[in-house]
Amino acid sequence: MVARSYPVKQVTRAKLEAHILSLGDLQSLAAPCLNWCHDSIFHAPKKVERSGLLRSAKLEDAARKVFPFSCHTEFNQSLVGAFEQFSELRAKKRRTPRLSHTAVIQELRRPRALLVTDWAASLFDGSLTPETDGFIDDDAMPAWDTWLGLIEVEGSFGLSCLLSWVPCWIAPKVDFAIRADAASCLSWLLVRSDDTFRLNGWGKPWTKRETRAHG
């Protein structure tokens, strides 16, 4: 698992300079996201339109600059730059930390908390929107409030994948969506007990075995 959320001149250079994603890196990526989504960590927001679930209007422009063509956006330097700007904007708009370091780590360790989207593999067939109440859109892209970073995943179709956080209240639906996705472009990411990461498998739902392995 390799972090991608840093400026790169070109993809090959990114590969050479890649560093392995650590739990510390992930904590830094996730803290502003969880801070932003603080009110939705444990409970679903009330009375939200399907298309607006965890898609704040304040972040919309920045998010659309990251993926101007949704799942058809090619991975390049401009996407990485736009993602950094998106992350900075989210952090800037809500500076006061509302979760402790420990609470963030605890949330990241929760089963079914981290989702990886291989957006280049999406079949953009609209099948996941009804299954997830709009948390995942018609192009299989998760809600932008929950985006954490760009990572390189071995065996993915695209050059880079999107890492995002999944609140506990929508996790069962996302789990089913992973199974129902014809393209198998989604996977859970597990934090192992030794703080390393393991991809659960594209199109593979969470099982009791994963929960046990998760500790």
Binding site: H72, A120, A121, L123, F124, D125, G126, S127, L128, T129, P130, E131, D138, F157, F176, R179, A180, D181, A182, A183, S184
Partner: protein
């Protein structure tokens, strides 16, 4: 093969006439196969709209040129009682 689908989707939505290349037909067949795989694997658990969305895609306008895809989706149509949009 996924690479051909965006083009077929855009053209198919407008019912633009097009003769599919072998690669495009293969892409459509691959798409249909994947839809069928998840349909049968999750049968009875999906929301109706989820499946209907998959059948309402512009790309299926060209399904007549991909016989395998047509066979596969016809089985789903018959089983689910839903219909393909954009076709013929």
């Amino acid at each position: 093969m996924h690479g051909v689908i965006p083009t077929l989707e855009n053209l198919g939505r407008n019912r633009t006439p097009k003769n599919l290349s072998p690669l495009e037909a293969a892409g459509l067949e691959e798409n249909a196969r994947l839809v069928a795989r998840t349909y049968w694997a999750t049968k009875g658990q999906r929301t109706a709209q989820s499946l209907q969305n998959q059948l309402n895609l512009g790309r299926w306008f060209y399904i007549g040129q991909a016989p395998y895809a047509q066979n596969v989706l016809s089985e789903i149509e018959a089983d689910s009682g839903m219909a393909l949009a954009y076709y013929p």
